[in-house]
């Protein structure tokens, strides 16, 4: 029963919110939704403490004695993703208490957010490829709705382009699953893994294309800048911080490590796509002047780091990649929420029209600096440790050129982020911005919380790795080892 609450509680609360909003328009939805997120975070930490530290844990539900066939499965990788999802969703939920008033009624917004969180929990908890696909679609539909909340013409356009490209990606994934189903006769992950050598090659290619589109690797990145630019800032924080990782990186890892074998060709494709994403994302971010567009390209670059590190296949690489996944969610959500705060206070996020906001908005400015330093990998913030581990892993397998590219892109990241910081927060304040006040309390609280999380996860990265990342990495390393064994036995 316990694992199922990760999916059931948000959906049930989301179902009740529109009805409850008739009673009290603002207070009750805020309280209920954020209470739900707190409960999810507490449940994640409790599960982590109760969990023995290895192996898979399957929970079958039963209803009045007869067993329903709902069995969410928990292993180390799932636990890491649940932790990431609950932290970021709590931060975004608190931020949107005052932010979302401008866009729509809080009840509808929180319902969509809760369904998004429930679907992402469903993606990581499912033990069946087709169930994973259904939850990916459910989360995608909520994302399209959240983008369209922007209400301007550009928001609707961004939402439609995002819908078409994302539905195309889902069709590729579904084609891959159909291919697997026809060949093998089942879609359950465990059973497909035991027949891993007869998975049709076309399915692997389709999975790569589909999941690559979902996590915005180059050359599949076209939807991300348009979808993020005009949406309310909470959407890019949730999407880039969570949905891209869950529906893209997590699903890719699950399929390529635990289902099909981890053969060298898949590894090299992941490494190439990762390196190209790192470079092209960083270069494209240099020329942007709109805050959110630049952060979208920066996201493409950082997800490239994660895919590169996991694609190497060595234990250190996988640990580095998963750690960067967790840390990137935290600092990227912080940066996007900051851009939302700037837009809330001044009405625009075009950096050429802004300037000198640091005096009037001290909290925003400081948390932005924390986010930038984390993103660029400066100690003692969290980005430094994950990038260091990735670079060491690259040097360990003698990919010196890629290690150099990783460090170079990190320097580029620092450059363009600092450029924007200087333009927006430092310098002389412009005439029309003289009267800007600091943002309201709850938005502030959420951003300060995330900034403190950046600092804390940076300082205490070792216990964090031991407790959360190492079990997750073990699951993936298990997959590598299994496929190597098969390879050796066969060949």
């Amino acid at each position: 029963m316990f694992l199922f609450i990760f999916i059931a509680v948000p959906v049930v609360v989301a179902g009740f919110l529109p009805i409850l909003s008739r009673i009290s328009r603002k207070f009750l939805p805020d309280v209920l939704a954020n209470l739900c997120f707190v409960v999810l975070l507490a449940a994640t930490i409790t599960t982590a403490n109760l969990w023995p530290g290895g192996g898979r844990f399957c929970h079958s539900l039963s209803w009045f004695g007869t067993s329903l066939n709902i069995s969410p499965v928990l292993d180390g990788l799932t636990l890491l993703m649940l932790f990431t999802i609950s932290i970021i969703s709590l931060a975004v939920g608190i931020f949107s208490i005052q932010y979302i008033e401008k866009y729509t009624s809080p009840a509808i917004y929180y319902s969509m957010l809760l369904v998004l969180v429930a679907s992402m929990n469903g993606i990581v908890l499912s033990s069946d490829l087709f169930t994973m696909y259904i939850f990916i679609e459910a989360a995608g539909i909520s994302s399209y709705g959240l983008v369209a909340l922007g209400k301007t013409k550009q928001a609707t356009e961004g939402a439609f382009k995002y819908l078409v490209l994302s539905a195309l990606a889902s069709s590729f994934i579904l084609l891959g699953i159909a291919g697997v189903f026809i060949k093998i006769g089942t879609t359950s992950i465990k059973e497909v893994a035991s027949f891993a050598d007869i998975i049709p090659k076309i399915s692997i290619i389709l999975f790569l294309a589909g999941f690559g589109l979902k996590c915005a690797l180059i050359p599949f990145h076209f939807w991300m800048p348009d979808a993020y630019t005009s949406a309310p800032a909470v959407l890019p924080a949730m999407s880039s911080g969570l949905f891209v990782k869950v529906a893209g990186v997590y699903a890719m890892c699950r399929v390529f490590f635990n289902v099909s074998g981890f053969n060298p060709s898949v590894s090299s494709v992941m490494v190439y796509l990762g390196v190209i994403s790192i470079l092209v994302g960083a270069l494209l971010a240099l020329g942007q002047s709109r805050l959110r567009r630049m952060l979208a390209y920066s996201s493409i670059s950082q997800v490239g780091y994660v895919i590169l590190a996991i694609g190497i296949g060595t234990p250190l690489g996988i640990i580095g990649g998963l750690l960067h996944l967790l840390y990137h969610s935290i600092f990227k959500a912080l940066l996007f929420l900051n851009s939302g705060a700037v837009e809330y206070a001044t009405g625009t996020d075009e950096s050429t029209q802004l300037g000198g906001l640091g005096a009037n908005m001290p909290f925003t400015s400081t948390t932005n600096i924390v986010g930038i330093l984390s993103a660029a990998g400066i100690p003692p913030f969290n980005g430094f440790w994950s990038k260091l581990i990735i670079v060491i892993a690259l040097v360990q397998v003698k990919m010196y050129l890629y290690a150099f590219i990783a460090v170079f892109a990190s320097v580029l990241t620092l450059w363009y982020l600092l450029l924007i910081q200087r333009r927006v927060f430092f310098g002389k304040i412009k005439e029309n911005l003289k009267g800007i006040a600091e943002i309201p309390f709850w938005m502030n609280l959420s951003m300060v919380g995330l900034a403190l999380a950046c600092l804390w996860t940076g300082l205490s990265f070792a216990p964090l790795i031991m407790k959360w990342v190492l079990p997750a990495a073990n699951v993936l390393i298990e997959g590598v080892r299994t496929s190597l064994n098969t390879f050796i036995i066969k060949g």
């Binding site: 087709f130 259904i134 679609e137 995608g140 539909i141 399209y144 709705g145 369209a148 301007t152 013409k153 550009q154 609707t156 356009e157 961004g158 939402a159 439609f160 382009k161 819908l163 078409v164 539905a167 195309l168 069709s171 579904l174 084609l175 159909a178 189903f181 026809i182 006769g185 879609t187 800048p225 348009d226 630019t229 005009s230 567009r293």
Partner: protein
């Protein structure tokens, strides 16, 4: 497999491939927003045909369960897309996807 049962399995494979080609061509080459949704519909039809014709006659019950779920998802996505089209038309009076290119870059 359809191959053994009906002796004409190659036709089903070819139809699936052709339908996917038609659907992807529609997505690439047409500019009207409603036609892009028609293209997505055609691709979904191709996938349903693939699932059912591939699983005949062994696993036809599970294939039906999968196809019904896929159709439900398809309804929700199409309804969302059509609502966005209606909004786009109200905001700007045109449903040409190329006119909405000012975000490109």
């Amino acid at each position: 497999m359809v191959n053994e049962a009906l002796g004409s399995g190659w036709m089903y494979s070819y139809s699936v491939a052709a339908l996917i080609f038609i659907g992807v061509y529609c997505l690439i080459a047409r500019r009207n927003m409603v036609r892009l949704l028609i293209g997505l519909e055609i691709i979904s039809k191709a996938i349903c045909l693939l699932i059912i014709s591939g699983a005949y006659p062994h696993k036809i019950a599970m294939a039906q369960a999968l196809v019904i779920t896929v159709i439900v998802i398809e309804v929700c996505v199409t309804a969302t897309g059509l609502a966005l089209i209606i909004n786009a038309y109200r905001q700007s009076g045109s449903i040409d996807i190329r006119e909405f290119s000012n975000l490109r870059g």
